[in-house]
């Protein structure tokens, strides 16, 4: 693998971090402040984009920032997996920024400057994690993201928000200190390195009991609570107290996606497929994640709060990604990486819709949105596309990943997993379709006639773009497969 | 047993003294008595040093005619230093005690605690 030394990944990380300064300085002028946000978002996206040709050409970009401790570097490496994640996140940040502006202005939110600062910070550290060259660097960004998103979740500054934010902090910080950190240290101690390498870093594992690796692997999975695998999932519904754009950031762009991204990194780049097959950890993880898929879908059906239902849906969808990777088969891994993006676009559409509903009606419950489709046709169309995509109906992008998931399960010879996918699609339909039914078929609540209007344009446009992408990815899957092929080719080379 | 006591009586005395001092420090409520106990405690260690410097048939470590052996002078010197330390400790302790008396009007440990507990609603942790 040819390696190019360039500071581009550093710029991608720094651009939004630096943007914090002008955002803070122009706090008294909202228009100027928001233009900085947009500017940073666009700049970040183009920096990330500029690295695409290099990576798709089969090269990697490396940049060493500093030597933290003797032998341990803070370094960035851009490979296809990281770049893939970074592209998704940075593109969605542009949309979310526009959407946020519409949202906070429509609701006249307080502390808007803090909000945009933390938003920019979150994106920076997300990039950092995407481009991390080793476990150490990734751990730093993983923790930093928790801290940056805390003020966003506590944004409302009422009891409920503090409670949610506290649970969020305790879960994420607690698990990462208690499990992830020791796992990393054990890895470092055993492998003598923390640099990611496709296919695993442990090298010759002779003489070490497989149980040892199984335990470390379990520590990793438990430590990465951001991936929302049960039983470490309940921070996610609790974090729903945050403003809707933040939820979309949490669910589609940064936090949970960083979780599954780290899981993928650990599976593919730390342990490697062969080692995991040898110790049988893949099937074990798959079983856990399958339980999460089904159980959280069942819980989602019972939620009346829109965002809570979406949150449980996210938990279930995240486990798709984990299962896909845990299958340890080419198609499964392919599907799981693709699903990061596909789920991101589909789910962010749903959250954008939830925010639009909140701005328009100030309603949070499914039972309160009867008949709004007539008044908010565009928003509802966006929701319908997102929901159908997640259920996995062609011609929407969700179908593609689901197709690969099932193929992967068959390849790996784990037919029960394929059954879980099928059942879960059915459950998805069960919890999404009632919303569509309520909005389209039921009559509008009395007295709502003249109050309900479509959301502001700043919100509508991003929504349409995300929904549009969710459709387009079905027709142009090569956008995704270009990246996944490199990874899979590297993994199953021999 | 008797032999043991006879041979090591100096150390046993030191230990006894030490425990007496220790007891006073722990058990006495009066701060002055605590200081006295502390002094006894320290002094017992000084005696320990001095007695171990004794060499059988040794004489004072001064060069003089007819001396066969000398006692070890080093512990004496050390203890000279330690005595200075001990005196300073006592001085500081007494100075503190005077300040305590000025602040509380008593040098009984238990009474001071009562006063403190009364003032801060019983939240003095000890």
């Amino acid at each position: 693998m040819e390696i190019i030394y360039s500071a581009a990944p550093l710029y991608a990380v720094l651009v939004s971090l630096v943007a914090i300064i002008p955002i803070y300085l122009s706090r008294s002028n909202p228009n100027l402040r928001e233009s900085w946000t947009i500017l940073a978002a666009v700049a970040k996206f183009f920096i990330v984009l500029s690295m695409v040709p290099t990576v798709l050409g089969g090269k990697e970009i490396y940049f060493k920032l500093a030597t933290a401790y003797p032998g341990i570097d803070i370094a960035f490496k851009v490979d296809s997996l990281g770049l893939f994640f970074a592209l998704t996140a940075s593109f969605l940040w542009i949309l979310t920024s526009f959407y946020s502006i519409g949202y906070v202005r429509a609701l006249k939110e307080h502390a808007q400057t803090r909000y945009f600062i933390c938003f920019a910070g979150s994106l920076s550290v997300t990039m950092g994690a995407a481009f991390s060259a080793n476990l150490f660097t990734m751990y730093i960004f993983y923790e930093a993201l928790t801290l940056f998103t805390y003020p966003l979740i506590a944004h409302e500054e009422n009891e409920e928000a503090f409670r949610g934010a506290r649970i969020y902090l305790i879960y994420l910080l607690g698990t990462s200190i208690a499990f992830l950190l020791p796992a990393i240290l054990f890895t470092y101690f055993t492998a003598g390195t923390m640099d990611f390498r496709l296919g695993g870093i442990f090298g010759d594992t002779g003489g070490i009991h497989s149980l040892f690796f199984a335990v470390i692997f379990a520590f990793y999975i438990a430590g990465i609570a951001k991936a929302g695998i049960m039983p470490f999932h309940s921070w996610l519904p609790n974090a729903m107290v945050a403003p809707t754009p933040v939820s979309s950031l949490l669910h589609a762009v940064a936090v949970v996606k960083m979780g599954v991204f780290v899981v993928l990194r650990v599976i593919l780049y730390v342990f490697g497929v062969d080692l995991l097959k040898e110790i049988g950890a893949g099937a074990f993880l798959a079983a856990f994640a399958c339980v999460t898929i089904v159980v959280s879908s069942l819980i989602a059906m019972r939620q009346d709060n829109i965002k809570a239902r979406l949150a449980y849906s996210t938990i279930s969808q995240l486990s798709y990604i984990v299962v896909g990777a845990a299958l340890l088969s080419p198609s499964g891994i392919k599907a799981s990486i693709m699903h990061i993006t596909i789920h991101a676009f589909s789910k962010i559409s749903l959250f954008f819709w939830a925010g639009a509903v909140y701005v328009a009606l100030h309603k949070k419950y499914i039972s309160q949105i009867s008949g709004i489709a007539k008044k908010m046709p565009v928003s509802m169309a966006v929701f319908t596309i997102g929901a159908l995509s997640l259920i996995g109906i062609p011609p929407l992008s969700g179908f593609i990943s689901k197709y690969y998931f099932v193929t992967g399960a068959v390849e790996a010879g784990m037919l029960p997993v394929a059954v879980v996918f099928a059942v879960s699609s059915f459950l998805n339909a069960l919890y999404f379709l009632p919303i569509i039914y309520t909005a389209y078929m039921k009559p509008l609540d009395a007295g709502m006639d003249d109050k309900v209007t479509e959301a502001p344009l700043a919100m509508l446009i991003p929504m349409c773009v995300t929904a549009g992408v969710a459709v387009l990815l079905f027709f142009f899957p090569q956008v995704l497969t270009n990246f996944t092929d490199i990874i899979v080719a590297g993994l199953f080379a021999e | 047993m008797i032999d043991f006591i006879a041979a090591k009586y100096n150390y046993l005395i030191c230990v006894c003294l030490m425990m007496i001092g220790f007891y006073a420090v722990i058990a006495k409520q009066n701060l002055m008595k605590k200081i006295i106990g502390l002094s006894i405690f320290q002094t017992s260690v000084f005696l320990f040093y001095i007695s171990m410097a004794k060499v059988t048939d040794g004489t004072a470590p001064i060069v003089w005619e007819g001396a066969v052996r000398y006692d070890n002078p080093l512990p004496h010197v050390l203890i000279l230093t330690a005595i200075v330390v001990s005196v300073s400790t006592t001085a500081v302790a007494i100075a503190l005690m005077i300040n305590i008396y000025k602040a509380y009007g008593t040098i009984e440990d238990s009474k001071i605690r009562e006063i403190e507990a009364g003032e801060s609603g019983g939240s003095v942790s000890r």
């Binding site: 003797p70 730093i140 902090l169 950190l181 | 220790f22 171990m52 330390v85 400790t89 300040n99 942790s125």
Partner: protein, 502 residues
Amino acid sequence: MNLAVNFPALLVTVPLIFVPVIPLLGLINRKICWYAAVLAITASFAMIMTILAKVSTEGPISYHLGNWAPPIGIEYRIDMLNAFVLAVISFISLVSLLFGKELVEKEVPEYKHPAFYSVFILFVVGMTGMTVTGDLFNVYVFLEITSLSGYALIATSKKRYAPMASFNYLVIGTLAATFIVLGIGYLYMVTGTLNMADLAERIKPLNGSSVVLTAYALILMGILIKMAVFPLHLWLPDAYTYSPSAVSAAMAATSTKVGAYVLIRLMFSVFDIEYHVGSVPITGIIIFFASLSIVMGSVIAIAQTNIKKMLAYSSVGQIGYILLAAAMVNAEALTGGVMHIFSHALMKGGLFFVVGLIVYNIGSERISDFAGIGRRMPFTAAAFTIFSLSIIGIPLTVGFVSKWYLVLGAISSGHWYAIGVILLSSLLTAIYFGKVIFVMYFKGGHDDHGHAPAAKLSEPMGMVIPMAFVAFLCIYFGIFATFPVELAAKAAEAVLGGVTWK
């Protein structure tokens, strides 16, 4: 004759000369005292840095006081470990002096200032002496100098209970010192020497001797009291709570660390390490108490409503890390431990100063009264947050560095439960510091729209700058930790290898 050769002695004697001079200067003008004190510590600090540079390149220095050869004369011996500790002590003392000027003016009655600075210098002299010396009895003498000046410093506070807190500390401290001197006596009895290097040689054939074991037990006991390890910590919370903030900061940052240094020195350089790993499970016992200290210190800290008490109990927990590191007996852990001497000094010193400033402004030490500080004293609150994150052990802070090496050491020596203890305590630390940060930023002080009705409180430049500096160091050395880590690793190697010392 080259002056630099005499630096090992001068770094103690130069500040010592200032001790009687400062009160005299105070007769002329009380304002000069502070400058004189700064001058004294700066001189000592400069010498220590020269020595540190020299030791790290040329190896240990042995200095014979009065040109008397070691076993008879007193020897000052500096290897990487004490050079490192010396640098930390004098650096922190210097910063506390610079930082503490305003606090001292506020918390100590003015007529006491000359005496205060004089005793403060004596306190630092005692600690540097303890660290630099290679003679066991000298350690005792300097220990008592440190302690006595420490008692006096605590009592300078205006608080009513201060003399009582100091008195209790005096009683316990004197008992501890007497235990140590008794232990030294035992060692002298069987070996006939007080020089540590010489002692190490002569102890070897005595492996298994009950006298040596008793001596070890007595000295260990004394040091553990001085370090305030859990069941022996009772003097510490009151002492830190009732003393002036500048004193709490300096003491919390340095004095227990010196105790830790002496312990490490004795464990590794004097007593044969095989001895206490092998025949008697001394390291096992120390690990137990260290773990107990870490967990209990944190647990009790959670329950505190008084901020200074909370920090004090947190110190009890943090000192446990250093003890743990020493007892695990391997290079990584000891690197972590030595590193923690440095990082904890930075963080805890900083915390006490920040808290001192806040407490002075709002006139209360109750955590619940800190509401709205985040807006009323933005710089101070930000510094507090940085120090707290560091002490919790969030990556990119200096606290994380030492924890990293500690856990690595625990893994490599197979002390599994120590890993659990360290991580558990990180979580507990996160709880009690998180509570304070939450109160500062999210409680009170503003209405629903985020405007700050409460007036800003004063944050004098003289304090903000040192505070920002220390906070900056906390982060800087968290990211670019190579420099201190390499020094700490060399220090660990120096004592573990045993070659350089003997």
